[in-house]
């Protein structure tokens, strides 16, 4: 049970977002820009995968399932493929550039200072732009916030992982708007 009374029984981050809609709207706007906005040279799938990977490293069940399912939807892949990236992205069948960005995201998850010049160089060599490196760091940092918000308030999460997969198409269609929170 959540540590505080949200006045609703929505799962995960949606509980506190509806409890305090002023901050909820802003957090959703941030998620919309980082993950769903089409004006970005990183694909929606790759941005969701960065969020899912960081959430998995933070052991946040709700977030890594929501965003893993989103990546799965965009990649038109299956759950074992997404799980293989979460578990060991270096051995996964994904582009080298995405591996380089996931390595940066993994360092951010530990702490900002863990990001090395070598990691940045590697990403750049594989074609990553300043903008893409910026967005990777900010997505990873943002999930260090979202994950802590979700688990720090002890929110509940559906145990059935298929639930997240079933919702992904709707979320991809509607984006992270405040209006979609209650659905």
């Amino acid at each position: 049970m959540a540590w505080i009374d949200f006045g609703n029984d929505l799962p995960g981050i949606r509980g506190p977002m509806v409890y305090r809609p002023e901050t909820g709207a802003i957090l959703n706007e941030l998620a919309e820009i980082l993950l769903h906005d089409e004006n970005n040279t990183l694909s929606r799938g790759d941005r969701e995968m960065i969020g899912a990977y960081v959430s998995s490293e933070n052991d946040c069940f709700f977030c890594h399932n929501v965003h893993g399912a989103m990546a799965q939807h965009y990649y038109q892949a299956d759950m074992p493929f997404i799980d293989s990236i979460k578990k060991d992205f270096q051995s996964a069948d994904i582009p080298e550039k995405l591996k380089a960005l996931l390595a940066i995201a993994g360092s951010v998850q530990k702490g900002g200072k863990y990001v090395t010049s070598d990691q940045i160089e590697k990403a750049r060599t594989l074609g990553a732009t300043d903008r893409e490196i910026h967005d990777t760091v900010l997505i990873a940092a943002a999930f260090c916030m979202f994950n802590r918000y979700v688990d720090g308030l002890n929110t509940w999460a559906p145990a059935d992982r298929q639930v997240y997969v079933d919702r992904a198409a709707m979320r991809a269609r509607e984006g992270y708007s405040q209006a979609g929170l209650l659905k």
Partner: protein, 187 residues
């Protein structure tokens, strides 16, 4: 040197906000709501939570910046600022705030580190659901800001006398795009 090409006249997060104004908007609004609200917790107490978490995350720019803002609210009481960073149990702050700083410190480690007894203790000291919510979100948000600032290796001014100037700017005008669109304060 920063990992990406940033305006070298802007320190810390200000250079990142200028680099990415689309995301600067929600980040500025979130900070304004969380740190400047006077509901339950005062702006000074909210900044103390931000300062403590930034110190635990070893983010020099953020803990100096928010420490300077706390000092500004407390009319230059740097001793309290230092205590809030290093040993808040010894700081001259309320027992309620101490219990919330404990929760914030747990959030800094991981959301899962917060225990039922931490929450219970805070409630016994008079913390409301809203206080606990805001504490967790402030602590979580600084786990974002600290990583954003250090993850891109932004410039943190070594001259500590510049921090109170920017702090006063925040205390007087709040958070928002003015902190990177306007010239940086020099006196």
């Amino acid at each position: 040197m920063p990992h990406i090409d940033l305006d070298e006249n802007l320190p810390g997060i200000r250079a990142l906000l200028a680099f990415s104004p689309e995301t600067a908007k929600p980040l500025g609004e979130l900070t304004e709501l969380l740190l400047r609200s006077n509901e339950g917790l005062s702006p000074a107490e909210r900044e103390m939570i931000a300062t403590h978490v930034s110190y635990l995350n070893d983010c020099f720019y953020c803990h100096q910046s928010h420490g300077a803002i706390v000092s500004c609210y407390l009319n230059g009481d740097n001793e309290t600022v230092n205590a809030v960073k290093r040993d808040y149990q010894a700081a001259p702050v309320s027992e309620k705030l101490k219990s919330l700083l404990t929760i914030a410190g747990k959030v800094q480690q991981s959301g899962k580190a917060v225990l039922a007894e931490d929450i219970e203790h805070a409630k016994e000291q008079g913390a409301t659901d809203r206080d606990i919510h805001d504490t967790v979100l402030i602590a979580a948000a600084f786990c974002l800001f600290n990583r954003y600032v250090d993850g891109l290796a932004t410039i943190a001014p070594e001259d500590l006398s510049t921090y109170p100037l920017r702090a006063r700017q925040i205390v007087e005008k709040g958070y928002g795009n003015h902190i990177f669109l306007n010239p940086q304060p020099t006196k």
